[in-house]
Amino acid sequence: MRGMPRSGWFWLVVGGLYFFVPLAATAEFSLKEGDAYSFGPYKEIFNDPQFRDTFFLSLKLAVATIIVSLLLFIPTVYWVHLRLPRLRTAVQFLSALPFVVPPIVLIVGLLYVYNYQWVPSSYLGSPYYLVPGYVVLSFPFMFFALDNAFRAIDVHTLTEASQSLGAGWSRTLWRVILPNISAGAIAGAFLTFALVMGEFTMASLALFNTFPTYINYIGQTKANPAAALTIISFGITWLALLGILMVGRRPGRGAVQVGGAR
């Protein structure tokens, strides 16, 4: 078998540099106070009450989004696999396109829909306003992760076995199906988490102060703490992806997929 050609190494080195240089530069920048190196910028961030507020708000939104999208998509994907296998291509087509819905279009649409009278005003003032939009954004990630998990199990046999033993639908879903697809569900949850923790477009246009809008705000006022925040945010993305790797190779090739909202 041939070794890897030299041109191959060349491209990988170029790619590696492209990946690491901006990170190194940001890290260096984030450790500077004037001309001296220090952890000052990080301390400044962690001591800022606004950091805590926005961070936890984004965290809460991420959890809410994960719960809603799991509740919505697990039964949907289950049903599609069990009863409507032909629709799978259609659903897959819809979801293979994380970019069909640019976040900017989504928020414009949502703002428009929310103009109707029937939306209670208490809901409009709450940041949870963003959750339906985030659920749409998370759909492709969730779908790929869940779809892979469902493909790996024999949905029909499991369902029939469970029902012949007297379990109802909800019991089958909860006690039989869910444990079998949990790796996929967790992978989808991690991707959704990374997505919501970084989502700027919708939050800023709907005028809510989430973690990413806070990063932007700091970026306009203080350069070094902004670099520190960038590193923190990068760390979150790493954690989420490491989380996916930890839950196993189950999710397969579709799992670590394509970035979303920018």
Partner: protein, 261 residues
């Protein structure tokens, strides 16, 4: 009904509202400029990102590559592809901004990019920044197609006396081309939709469609929500066209996937 159709219906409601006046405005003046610029930047980053991503993925996944490279590459690509938005802009300001690390290094070599007309906060700066997520995205989407390229094909080609160039010309490229182009269409969509990075990098001063929509909706001096709906609808049209192209290419690509499985 699949949840997808229902959810996508949620952002379609805007369609009912516009009069043709707003829609016609799309084709005039700054709006048209914004579309042209958005499409340009998306085409360039999709082509460059697609090409570089393919070369890297092929280098790492081809038969001769050491085994450890594959998981490393896909993990790093996963991180980089998901790392976007505002932090990405700041990372590049630290790197290629006026006092960025790379700028200073190049300056010492006498090659300060800012002396040669480059600025991170303009068109090409945005291209360089977008490539940070476009290249890894390409690596992730193209990897299955490269895996589908059978080593037997290459071996039979060389057994029949084909040179490497001939192999690529008559076997490799025809098989891979639909996948490569299809992936590039996805990349196109990705940078067409991007808002946060461009916003943070240029403070909203570069005239891309998403930024223009943001301006119109966020209630500044220029506020005109209905024009924003029309612009957003225009984006949906562009993306839909791209998706039709993607669908056609994907069908062609899947011919080979079926035999490969």
């Amino acid at each position: 009904m699949p949840a997808g159709a229902l959810l996508i219906g949620a952002f379609r409601t805007q369609e009912g509202e516009f009069t043709t006046r707003f829609f016609k405005n799309i084709f005039k003046g700054t709006s048209l400029d914004a579309y042209v610029k958005s499409v340009e930047i998306s085409l360039i980053t999709a082509a460059l990102g697609g090409l570089l991503g393919f070369l890297m993925a092929y280098a790492a996944l081809s038969a001769g590559a050491p085994r450890f490279i594959r998981p490393v590459l896909t993990t790093f690509s996963g991180v980089a592809a998901n790392f976007g938005g505002v932090p990405l802009a700041f990372a590049f300001i630290s790197t290629l901004g006026t006092v960025g690390l790379a700028t200073r290094a190049l300056d010492k070599l006498g090659l300060n990019p800012y002396d040669h007309g480059f600025t991170l906060f303009g068109f090409w700066g945005l291209v360089v920044t977008y490539l940070y997520f476009q290249i890894p995205l390409m690596i992730l989407v193209i990897a299955p197609a490269i895996d589908g390229l059978k080593t037997e094909w290459r071996e039979s080609a060389s057994n029949l006396g084909a040179t490497s160039t001939q192999y690529w010309r008559y076997v490799g490229l025809p098989v891979l081309l639909p996948s490569i182009l299809g992936s590039m269409v996805l990349l196109f969509g990705g940078s067409f939709a991007a808002y946060a990075t461009a916003y943070a990098l240029t403070s909203g001063h570069i005239g891309l469609v998403p930024l223009k929509i943001g301006e119109l909706i966020s209630g500044n001096v220029l506020s005109d929500p209905h024009q924003a709906y029309a612009l957003a609808f225009g984006m949906v049209i562009v993306i839909s066209v791209a998706m039709v192209i993607y669908y056609v290419l994907d069908r062609r690509a899947s011919r080979w996937r079926r035999t490969a499985q």
